[in-house]
């Protein structure tokens, strides 16, 4: 395991494109959170009755403990940025044919895949740590409601980690199967940002809520919209909350299944 980590580090430490995208990632997570908080502050600070009404409806979603939930939801929107890193990781190996060389030099095929699994897990952990830091900074700077624990919804950090890992796993699968960086990135963006959201909405409108079983949506449902949405449609919000537990199971099953498929394909196919 240490050897796999060391080798992956050797591959990355002088890879400028990787660090550039990691910087973009590191900026985008706090960025989206601060943008949303800015919009909220802007609305709330407007003089007049409208802002008072909104304040009553929304409460303060950026104060702890609600910030855990709000910022997990907001941060999950930009998962496609680290997805670029994950796709680069795997497609680079195919572009340079180093996936063969690693095996020729003495890794087993399973070790190669385990190294990639570690990469995806590490990126997920780094992003989750970033989310936790941003949440604490923003949340602690806001006035929290009295008699409510600040750590009440901190379990969203765990859900966020699982969601990120699951969705980056899907990005990895796309890169692993397509092998060409630009095509894989295009397919990934189209699927994450266009195809699946539209499919989920259309299915919900014309068929049923079966869109929740689509690959990205399965883990999207781990973090329902923030609590203030309950003021607009309480039954839908409560339904979303009640589905979180089963979606944890679905997410785990799908993620394990994808990695199992990747290991199996890599073991059998020609390099």
């Amino acid at each position: 395991m240490t050897n796999l980590l060391k080798t992956e580090w050797l591959k990355l430490r002088r890879y400028r494109a990787f660090w550039l995208i990691m910087i973009v990632t590191a900026l985008s997570y706090p960025g989206i959170s601060y943008i949303l908080r800015g919009i909220y502050k802007n609305i709330m600070e407007r003089p007049g009755d409208a802002s008072m009404v909104l304040k009553m409806i929304l409460g303060n979603p950026f104060a702890l403990p609600e910030a855990w939930h709000t910022l997990a939801y907001a941060s999950s929107i930009v998962v496609f940025i680290p997805a670029v890193v994950v796709i680069m990781f795997i497609t680079n190996e195919y572009s340079f044919k180093t996936h063969r060389q690693n095996v020729i030099d003495g890794w087993s095929r399973n070790q190669f895949m385990t190294a990639k699994l570690i990469d995806v897990a590490l990126i997920s952990v780094i992003i989750s740590a970033l989310y936790v830091i941003v949440t604490l900074i923003i949340g602690l700077s806001e006035v929290s409601p009295k008699n409510v624990g600040k750590w009440g919804y901190s379990y969203y950090a765990g859900l966020f980690l699982l969601q990120t890992f699951a969705q980056l796993t899907i990005a990895f699968l796309i890169g692993f199967l397509i092998r060409k960086a630009f095509i894989a990135l295009g397919v990934c963006m189209f699927y994450f940002l266009v195809f699946e959201p539209i499919s989920v909405a259309l299915l919900r409108k014309y068929v049923d809520d079966i869109g929740r079983y689509l690959p990205v949506e399965i883990s999207d449902r781990l973090i329902p919209p923030p609590a203030f949405f309950a003021r607009f449609d309480k039954p839908a919000y409560e339904k979303a909350l009640s589905q979180v537990s089963i979606h944890i199971l679905y997410t785990l099953l799908l993620t394990v299944f994808i990695w199992w498929i990747c290991f199996r394909i890599n073991k059998r196919r020609d390099l």
Partner: protein, 298 residues
């Protein structure tokens, strides 16, 4: 002599195309084993299978008497097809990855192999800035890292200039004298003849022959003869030789006889009795190139 590699009935298809057909041979320890064949004969497919890059449909192979494994590959320095390195990393950083994966060599060894392959001055340059020849040199350097006792080299002189080709030849001869086992695929028959102790010749996936180079080359006796009228000489020789070829450029006739049956005195008498006076006659050792063309029908 103990076998380093034993290939047993390996068969491989790409769809309907048969790339290898029940190929079997042994690579003795300390040999320089050349795998020869025209394009598409299955050389790289065979090397890819023994390095676990491709899977065989049937058959198996043993390294050091054991089935292939990642632990065994770590002990083998390999260059397969093209130099495969991270384009954004320098030679040193790429070799550190080779070292980390294979466990072969130290940081000092990295410098040593780079010096040996004349890349030391450019060790900090990114791989993407290297010429084709430099990339090939780096691939050979990676294979040599940590002095593995077995090397698998697929077309090691690809992209090298004449000086580079000569250096690789010298390197292989040096390693051979030190007892290394080298398995190499090549198109360059002249190079193979100069450095290999054993060869296997493939054509369209079939193993045509394998064994020691001298044995394979001396499959028949070839006698070179000259007379005033080489056409008359050739016509006469066809009565006693199994294959007669006129070389008009050299103005000689090559007559083939079953191995060990060519008697110069008898041939001379045979010609004289038919009124042909020979002015030149010698037994020629067959070149690998000629043997290769015979076997592959080119």
């Amino acid at each position: 002599m103990e076998s380093v590699l034993s290939v047993q009935n390996i068969t491989r298809h790409y769809g309907h195309i048969r790339a290898l057909n029940k190929v079997s041979f042994e690579v003795p320890e300390g040999s320089v084993f050349g795998i020869l064949g025209p394009n598409g004969s299955g050389k790289t497919t065979l090397l890819s299978i023994i390095l676990d890059v491709l899977k065989a449909d049937n058959g198996n192979f043993l390294w050091f008497g054991n089935p292939g494994s990642s632990a065994q590959r770590k002990k083998i320095g390999s260059l397969l097809e093209t130099p495969n390195f991270y384009h954004y990393l320098s030679a040193v950083d790429n070799l550190k990855i080779t070292q980390a994966i294979s466990g072969r060599g130290t940081e000092k060894d990295i410098d040593d192999v780079l010096k040996k392959m004349n890349l030391y001055e450019r060790r900090r340059s990114r791989f993407s800035t290297y010429s084709l020849g430099m990339k090939q040199r780096l691939a050979v350097a990676a294979a040599l890292l940590g002095q593995p006792k077995v090397l698998v080299l697929d077309e090691p002189t690809n992209g090298l200039d004449p000086v580079g080709i000569a250096e690789i030849r010298e390197l292989i001869i040096e390693l051979r004298t030190k007892g290394f086992t080298i398995i190499m695929a090549s198109h360059l028959l002249d190079e193979v003849e100069k450095v290999c102790t054993h060869v296997a010749i493939l054509r369209k996936g079939d193993l045509l022959t394998s064994g020691e180079v001298d044995e394979i080359l001396s499959d028949e006796d070839v006698v070179e003869l000259r007379a005033a009228d080489i056409n008359r000489l050739a016509a006469a020789l066809r009565d006693i030789s199994r294959h007669v070829v006129i070389d008009e450029k050299q103005n000689v006739v090559h007559a083939s006889f079953e191995k060990g049956t060519a008697r110069l005195e008898q041939i001379n008498r045979f010609c004289f009795e038919r009124g042909i006076v020979l002015n030149h006659m010698l037994i020629k050792k067959k070149r690998l190139e000629a043997r290769f063309f015979d076997l592959t029908n080119n």
